[in-house]
Symmetry: C2
Subunit: 203 residues, 2 copies
């Protein structure tokens, strides 16, 4: 039976396997990634792998958890600084700049996993839905802050706007990755910025 | 050498293979779809397959062309009827209703192909980028019509707004498919509708 690592060394081995798998999956997708490739990338043995993961599906779920945690950590920090339209636009620009720096490869790891797995792996779909919900909750906290500062209409329910921002980021990243043009992401973010401004109190 | 079908019967065989492959790929992705599965779904022989397609990659490109053509045909018809905010909202509602009817499975076939192939198959990526560009061009024609009718600011360049609509549809479909909740798509479409209205001439 697979188990949680009991020692620091065990935790490092498990993490090396997950990070190695995450990198391969980010570049080539889940289905195209074999366990042999993961072992080579992580410099781990088959017995180490099966010590921590029952099968490939279990490893994939660990990769989703790892990607979701990294993402939420990054997003949380960026979002916590947004308290004005200018700081929102600046955050959007960091997303565009990141895509430019990556030549628009990869896009969003959670989005790519969702596109590949939502219809074929129900447990993974649920994990990914929770990752999106968690990301949307952080966006909502940010939008609530803008509302408290008087930038959005008092009493506005920010749940749907938060999912709209997330949808725009996902769609913009997918278009940017497919066309290799970061302007597609910028167009999406400019639009969602315009939408949010349209929710400002009447001046 | 693979060749184009010369007879009506040949065209039907080739189409049966492409449609069979498209259905499998829609449900499980490119990497998870084997040529043997395609042959079984299309009730075709290996020699028929290789008569028309050099390899799996060539078949995948034919599937992309077929999906892009079906999509643009459907989109073109729906968009041609939009000449007011009410008819735009009605079109958005048909997209949400379609997802509801499908229990939010599948999403957008072109979007799913793009998410899977953009970083691993350069020829497919270019085909998919062209499919997105063609879709955006149809959205642009629709937005130009709204502008000519006085609903958008005179002289507005509709290129980026068209890509924003496409990004919102893609992102909304991905969230709906992952969370199995069509409201996520509706939130995205409401947002892009609000953005477009914010581009109306000052009243």
């Amino acid at each position: 039976m697979p188990e949680e690592p009991k020692t620091a060394r065990g935790r490092r081995t498990r993490e090396r396997i997950v990070v190695g798998a995450a990198g391969l999956i980010e570049r080539q997708g889940v289905e195209a990634t074999s366990l042999d490739q993961v072992l080579a990338a992580a410099e781990a043995s088959k017995s180490q792998l099966y010590h921590y993961f029952a099968d490939k599906q279990a490893l994939v779920r660990a990769v989703i958890a790892w990607q979701a945690a990294s993402l939420v950590e990054g997003v949380e920090e960026g979002l916590s600084r947004i308290d004005s339209w200018a700081s929102l636009d600046a955050w959007f620009e960091t997303l565009v700049a990141h895509q430019q720096a990556m030549d628009c490869h990869v896009g969003c790891p959670i989005g790519s996993l969702a596109a590949e797995l939502a219809d074929t792996d129900e447990a993974a779909r649920q994990d990914l839905a929770r990752a999106f919900d968690s990301w949307a909750a952080h966006l909502r906290t940010m939008l609530d802050r803008l509302r408290e500062r008087g930038l959005l209409t008092p009493g506005l329910d920010t749940e749907q706007p938060a999912y709209a921002v997330l949808a725009m980021i996902q769609g913009g990243l997918l278009l940017a990755k497919t066309t290799r043009d970061p302007e597609r992401l910028r167009a999406a973010l400019v639009a969602v910025g315009g939408y949010l401004r349209s929710l400002a109190p009447p001046s």
